[in-house]
């Protein structure tokens, strides 16, 4: 008997005419690890809410079909009982912590279940030990880092000892290290404790291989349901992006089983490159890639940081002797862990902070002395949260707001920008009613409407799916083609590899690596995209899928077809 059985489920959110879930059929066995992938608005989160009993209990709306949990209609199960069986962790840790200190937060769910103090104490102690939260058990929750908050949210649900753990993009707001920790915990809970885990994720390169089964959702339906290796090929054939780069690379080959991890990929590629690698025959041509940066040296400097030092009052030094020169038309990505000083450096570039020592020149102005007012007319700044920009009644008004503030009379640019950002249809729509991807585009449009020379983005890919990320990258690339300079601060190595020209890596307040992306990411073991990790040692400098296909496919394609045919004959 399956743990969950979903039969012909269709669901409409209140006051909507489009079904969020359409005629869904699904069975989930106890102990499975299921990965749910898909684009924004494909129904992933709605499915999670259905399985946790929040739809329609919390949201209302119209429901058709049945959801059975342990052969019982989920709607007939007492809410308290269901909460003991199914735990749900949401994507934004900031929006799921209600108590002021860590221990109280873990106790919150237990108090709601009405457990006795002895039982609560035991469970809290267990969870704190398992999740290694003892050092912060007395901490004020508002002071925790994003990763700690998400761990706490998970601990709070785990303390309720559910059989099923539904994780709705639990890593989307986290840096790679914290994300890895959450994913490893999920895997441990599944393998060592026997939890049934249903995980919705966008960072497929980190968790595709963890799952027993992958569900790929599209327009409220399950488009694919199967083992990761099985669905990779079908998905690639249909040109859908929801497969991690390594699996995507091999799915194009005629192989009996598609390698989906770096380890499997390297194992497969090893024999083809062993001979050529040992003789040094394989060398990727980085010369052409350096050409763009070589040309840029003649361009004028847009951002210049000279011997920049900064320490917050009463704190440690955050920036230490930072020197950086960014030329006109460059697409620069700044990478680094939390606390590396990326955001502080960004605040200096935008003139929001004054340096302790050193000089900051942006667009020829001394920002370190005069602040942001001198440069803001020609600088666009997009913060981590697009919602910070949205408060007008319509999308058009958002753009007009910026133009009015800068006293720009020519409003014809609005039509052009709306067209370029595919927002013309939502011109008169309230921006808060738009999807997350559209909101981000409106926020970006509202700052690009002044035709800035410098565009600065802080973590723009957080919580963004493959398609939207690609869309954003292309928009930014087009801006550089128009002569603007783009600076992106991110943790997203895949984004950097795909779209940046130059990569700057920071560590503990210092720039530790700076150069053309192939030189920086290609040399790094840890800060390398999945394809880069797979090709390291075989074909140095290859970072993206397109590059890998270009360099490696011709070498192995013929051989794989021949060997596969031979295997089939055998």
């Amino acid at each position: 008997m399956p743990l969950f059985k979903v039969e012909n489920l269709t669901y409409y959110y209140p006051e909507t005419e489009k079904a969020a879930l359409r005629n869904l059929n699904l069975e989930i066995e106890e102990g499975e690890f299921i990965l749910v992938a898909g684009g924004s608005g494909s129904g992933k989160s709605s499915l999670a809410r259905v399985l946790a009993g929040l739809i329609p209990d919390f949201y209302g709306g119209k429901v058709g079909g049945k959801v059975l949990f342990n052969d019982k209609d989920i709607r007939t199960i007492d809410r308290r009982k269901l909460a003991r069986e199914v735990g749900l962790v949401f994507q934004d840790p900031e929006k799921q912590i209600v108590q002021t200190y860590v221990e109280a937060e873990i106790a919150f769910g237990l108090e709601n279940l009405g457990l006795c103090p002895e039982e609560m104490l035991r469970r809290i102690a267990e969870v704190i030990s398992f999740m290694n939260l003892a050092p912060i058990s007395e901490a004020f929750t508002a002071n925790l880092s994003g990763g700690q908050k998400q761990k706490l949210a998970l601990a709070s649900v785990l303390a309720m000892q559910p059989r099923v753990l539904v994780l709705d993009e639990p890593t989307s707001q986290l840096d790679p290290v914290s994300a890895e920790e959450i994913l490893n915990l999920a895997k441990r809970l599944n393998e060592e404790m026997g939890f049934t885990v249903i995980m919705i994720e966008q960072r497929l390169e980190r968790c595709f291989q963890l799952a027993d089964r992958v569900l790929l959702m599209e327009k409220g339906e399950i488009a694919y349901d199967g083992r990761a290796q099985e669905i990779a090929r079908d998905v690639v054939i249909r040109d859908m992006p929801f497969v991690p780069p390594v699996a995507r690379f091999f799915a194009g080959l005629d192989l009996p089983s598609v390698p989906i991890t770096v380890k499997e990929g390297r194992k497969f590629l090893g024999p083809y490159f062993k001979e050529k690698y040992s003789t040094g025959e394989i060398q990727c041509d980085l010369g052409c890639k350096n050409l763009q940066t070589a040309n840029l040296t003649e361009q004028k400097s847009v951002v210049s940081l000279q011997k920049l030092w900064f320490a917050y009052p009463g704190g440690q030094e955050v920036l230490k002797d930072v020197n950086l020169d960014i030329k006109e038309g460059e697409f620069v990505v700044i990478l680094g862990e939390n606390g590396a000083g990326k955001s502080t450096m960004l605040k200096h570039i935008t003139g929001m902070l004054k340096p302790g020592r050193g000089r900051v020149q942006v667009l020829g102005k001394d920002v370190s002395r005069n602040g942001f007012k001198e440069i803001r007319r020609f600088t666009a700044y997009l913060s981590q949260n697009p919602n910070d920009y949205l408060f007008q009644d319509t999308v058009e008004d958002e753009l007009l707001f910026t133009l009015k503030n800068f006293d720009i009379k020519d409003v014809s640019v609005i039509d052009e920008i709306l067209e370029r950002f595919h927002l013309a249809d939502c011109r008169k729509t309230n921006p808060r009613e738009l999807s997350s991807g559209e909101r981000q585009r409106v926020a970006l449009a509202s700052v690009l409407v002044t035709r800035p020379k410098l565009i600065i983005l802080d973590e723009p890919t957080r919580g963004v799916d493959f398609l939207l990320k690609a869309e954003l990258g292309e928009i930014l690339q087009k801006e550089t083609e128009r002569g603007s300079t783009v600076i992106v601060v991110t943790h997203d190595v895949e984004f950097a590899a795909e779209f940046a020209v130059r990569v700057v890596m920071m560590f503990l307040g210092r720039i530790v690596s700076d150069g053309e992306k192939h030189n920086v990411l290609g040399k790094s073991v840890f800060y390398s995209p999945q394809i880069g990790k797979m090709c390291r040692g075989f074909c140095e400098g290859v970072l993206t899928l397109a590059e890998a296909k270009d360099k490696i496919f011709p070498l192995i394609h013929g051989k794989t077809s021949t060997s596969h045919r031979a295997r089939m004959r055998a």
């Binding site: 308290r80 237990l110 981590q384 910026t402």
Partner: protein
């Protein structure tokens, strides 16, 4: 700087008391500071508070509290002699001023102002000690059984406040980069600019509140009667502290019945120490009130006492 004014877990012995014991102790302090009129008694309370604040490493915070307190004390000392005419020892005959009449500054009025100022400092110091000695969440939790929803609401607000401050700062930066000058324009224009700022915050908070409610529902909030988790433990130190507080209060009331702690300022100021009973009553009260300090010393220097409390 402001962080220092609020509770920080420093692992001191004086921070390890049960919140109920600390509340009782501080309430007794509060009552005594209001009942006592004798400046000597008030000064003794102030000194005791200073030792306790030092015991929780709160001198820096106390300094902050005292800055405001001393200013108020000086104001009281200045204003009181100007409006009070009851003193017999006139030290300055001033001119007549409208509304106040002839300004005759008496020593007793100044003295009363100073004593009131000390009382004010004692009250401020009690709140400072409260902030340094006890985690406000633990105090809040004490009332969970009787007012669970109100306590949760306060906890949620406390938890959200720093986040909202951070959000507000970020949104302000975003608006400044979109050309908004918050420090320019008339008062009306500034108000309009700030209203836009708070509008963004309000819209985002409303959206956020739905997500928080959803997370609470997913964790069975509102599914039935809640139980209360308390991590507070009652130890011998709490019983000694509470016992000491009640004994101090009883001794003080007994002393007040015989005039110990009372004081007459007008028309002529009384003696600070009328007789030995004044000092004996004060010593008894101070001894009982010093229980946390004595235990603190025992915790630090006496292994036997440490193992017993």
């Amino acid at each position: 700087m402001f962080d220092k004014l609020f509770y920080q877990e420093k692992g001191f012995f004086l921070q390890s008391f049960h919140p109920a014991a600390v509340l009782v102790y501080l309430c007794v302090f509060l009552v005594l500071s209001l009942l006592y009129e004798n400046p000597l008694y008030l000064l003794a309370l102030l000194f005791l508070l200073a030792f306790l604040i030092r015991g929780v490493d709160g001198m820096e915070a106390w300094e902050g509290f005292l800055k405001a307190g001393v200013f108020l004390m000086l104001m009281v000392m200045i204003i009181n002699p100007l409006v009070i005419r009851s003193g017999a020892t006139i030290i300055w005959h001033g001119p007549a001023v409208p509304y106040l009449g002839k300004l005759n500054i008496s020593m007793e009025a100044m003295y009363y102002g100073a004593a009131s100022g000390i009382r004010l400092l004692v009250l401020i110091s009690i709140f400072c000690l409260y902030n340094q000695m006890i985690n406000p969440d633990r105090v809040l939790k004490l009332f969970s059984r009787v007012a669970g929803k109100s306590v949760l609401m306060i906890a949620l607000s406390t938890r959200m406040f720093p986040t909202m401050v951070r959000d507000l700062k970020r949104i302000k930066e975003v608006q400044q980069f979109r050309g908004v000058d918050f420090d320019e324009g008339s008062l009306w224009e500034k108000a309009r600019k700030y209203s836009c700022l708070y509008n963004v915050l309000l819209l985002s908070s409303l959206e956020g509140s739905m997500e928080i409610a959803e997370s609470m529902q997913a964790r069975a909030f509102g599914s039935g009667k809640r139980s209360v988790y308390s991590r507070n433990m009652l130890r011998p130190r709490d019983i000694i502290c509470t016992g000491g507080s009640f004994l101090a209060l009883s001794a003080a009331i007994w002393g007040l019945r015989y005039g110990c702690g009372l004081y007459t300022f007008y028309p002529e100021a009384d003696f600070l120490i009328k007789d030995s009973t004044t000092l004996i009553a004060l010593s008894v009260v101070l001894f009982y009130l010093s229980m946390p300090l004595i235990l603190n010393e025992g915790w630090n220097y006496c292994r036997f006492l440490k193992s017993k409390i």
